[in-house]
């Protein structure tokens, strides 16, 4: 398997409507050669539809799709020479494991000797050596998943598609498989498009994530950028946890509840750091970026903002504890801290008045109403 065989994918203006509902709304997307890109979105967002367009099972109403230099939008699925792993694996029950994995090779006229060698190699790659003679129904869910993977990579496709392949596995197995799949991708180097609704999975495995909702791309970025610098409210809410403050511009600075806030001077996304008087926006705060401090300790350090709040519930969650608090203007915010012994000892009590501190660079300004 050579990295040289990976190709980029170019999607231009792809649209698909079912009746009046737009499943895909003029999507433009570039997947780089050898990249691991995840399509992330809630149910019905269009991510699986887009994957099916890539595979050739759904013909879009318009648009262009290129694998490298080849225009494939009208190419039948069996001529596209790409691999796919289905959500429920779609293994052939009438063939044993080795025959399942050998299937694409037989279709390509590979000699019996070569076939056997490559099947063994593929099974070794997915850590299933020795299970070639097992029947499909004798395998566990995790093993079936690996067979499906072996079958999809054995013929060294230029592109690999995966439709929520880990969703049927239990949590422990899913998490270890995420890392394994990532290692496999690094080893084989093919362009991979992965579909999931689990944002944690997307952040763990991907080079870049394309967040999709309502048939439209919300943001395409690296996991770090999506988490730290979401471009709109949808992405901010979908990825990780967040609290939102309503802020208004006054005197050239953003203010919450009349108090000016110290925010990062870097322009964040589409937001103007020098806003017009009366402009409105929302400020996103991640729970782990809010520090809980005692009230009445004087002004905080420069570059830090302090929000007075009354504590509601304090929820212990094993590795962390969550403090839900109410601000003066009725906004609910959550702060999260590591549940070490000292931190737990200092944890606030219900109805206690505290100050929530956050640094200038850790809040993100977003347009008031993001695209939904």
């Amino acid at each position: 398997m050579s990295r040289a065989s990976a190709v980029p994918i170019t999607i231009r203006q792809v649209a698909k409507a079912y009746g009046t509902v737009a499943a895909l709304d003029c999507i433009d997307l570039d997947v780089r050669s050898g990249e691991f890109l995840t399509l992330l979105g809630p149910s019905g967002s269009g991510k699986t539809t887009l994957l099916m367009v890539l595979a050739g099972f759904i013909r879009p109403d318009q648009g262009s799709l290129r694998f490298g230099d080849q225009e494939v939008i009208r190419l039948a699925p069996h001529k596209r020479d790409i691999g796919m792993v289905f959500q429920n694996y779609a293994l052939f029950p009438h063939l044993d494991v080795a025959a399942n994995v050998a299937y694409p090779l037989k279709l390509r006229g590979v000699s019996a000797a070569d076939c056997a060698r490559r099947v063994t190699q593929a099974l070794q790659t997915v850590k299933l050596e020795g299970l070639g003679t097992r029947r499909v129904h004798e395998l566990s869910g995790g093993q079936r998943q690996r067979v499906a993977l072996a079958r999809a990579i054995v013929f060294e496709p230029r592109i690999l598609l995966m439709d929520e392949p880990l969703s049927a596995l239990d949590k422990q197995l899913r998490e270890s498989m995420q890392i394994e799949l990532r290692h496999l991708h690094d080893q084989l180097g093919m362009t991979t498009v992965y579909v999931t609704h689990d944002q944690r999975e997307a952040l763990t495995m991907s080079d870049r994530v394309a967040v999709i909702a309502g048939g439209r791309l919300m943001q395409v970025d690296t996991p770090r950028m999506l988490y730290d610098r979401p471009g709109n409210r949808f992405v901010a809410e979908f990825i990780g946890e967040s609290s939102f403050l309503e802020v208004t511009a006054s005197g050239g600075a953003w203010c919450w509840n009349g108090r000016p806030l110290q925010l990062s001077t870097e322009p964040s996304g589409s937001m103007d750091p020098q806003p017009a008087q009366g402009a409105r926006a929302c400020l996103m705060l991640r729970p782990e970026r809010l520090r809980i401090a005692q009230a009445g300790q004087g002004s905080p350090a420069p570059g830090t903002n302090a929000l007075p709040a009354r504590v509601g519930d304090v929820i212990y969650q094993g590795d962390t504890f969550l403090v839900q608090a109410l601000l003066d203007d009725g906004t609910r915010v959550s702060a999260r801290a590591i549940a070490g012994a000292a931190a737990l000892a200092r944890a606030p009590a219900r109805n206690e008045t505290v100050e929530l501190h956050f640094d200038a660079g850790e809040a993100v300004l977003l347009p008031e109403e993001g695209p939904r």
Partner: protein, 274 residues
Amino acid sequence: MLLGLSGPALALVLVTMVLPIAWLFGLSFLADDGSLSLVRYRRMIEQPSYARIFGATFKVSLLTTALCVVLGYPLAYVLSQLPRRAANLCLIAVMLPFWTSLLVRTYAWLVLLQRRGLVNTWGMELGLWDEPLALVHNLSGTLIGMVHIMLPFLVLPVLNSMRSIDMDCMKAAANLGASPTRAFWSVFFPMSLPGLFAGSLLVFVICLGFYVTPAVLGGGKIVMVSNQIANDIELFFNWGAASSLGVVLLVSTMALLWLASRLTRLEQLLGASR
């Protein structure tokens, strides 16, 4: 408690089925003079006419089964690919004859296929042939009638089997490089084989014991085991001979079904709950 509730039903089955069959079974071991003997079974092996009868029975059953498969499999395939509502409407069309009396259907075929029947009259009037075709009172007529009656027995298990095929497997086959034809023969067809096997077996087993249709449409030229049993009883009043044939038929049918159940999960294929 359970025995008490099922008591009446058990008694009914006992009186109407088990006892008469046991009596018939016993009859086959009695010679003409009333003594216990195996003479009837020996005669079956010795006399060539019995071999001919068994041969005819198997031949007709095999041919009917083969024709049902050839006609019924494509029909089931089309039904499995149609959207549910259209498929169910078509299924009603396949099942409708099923709910009509067997005798009525058989005689209807007689009316259609006989010398001055509908088929011959229209065929000659349209100039397709000059002499009336001999479509009844022979093997052809028998087969036409039997295939018509047996078709639902094949279509239903095959359709069941086809509907339970995961269509993602077909998508996977296409994605891996199989053309639609290749995908059908290498994935869909093998996965539908259990249903085809069950349906064929069902048709074959029912054909073995079939009476009315070969009797009416065969015109006496087709003598299957069932016809011989009828002759033994109606013409020769030979209950012993009739029952011995009946026993052979019953035992061979049960043996076939047992063999099939060892090879496949037959009950599931024929529609038992999963």
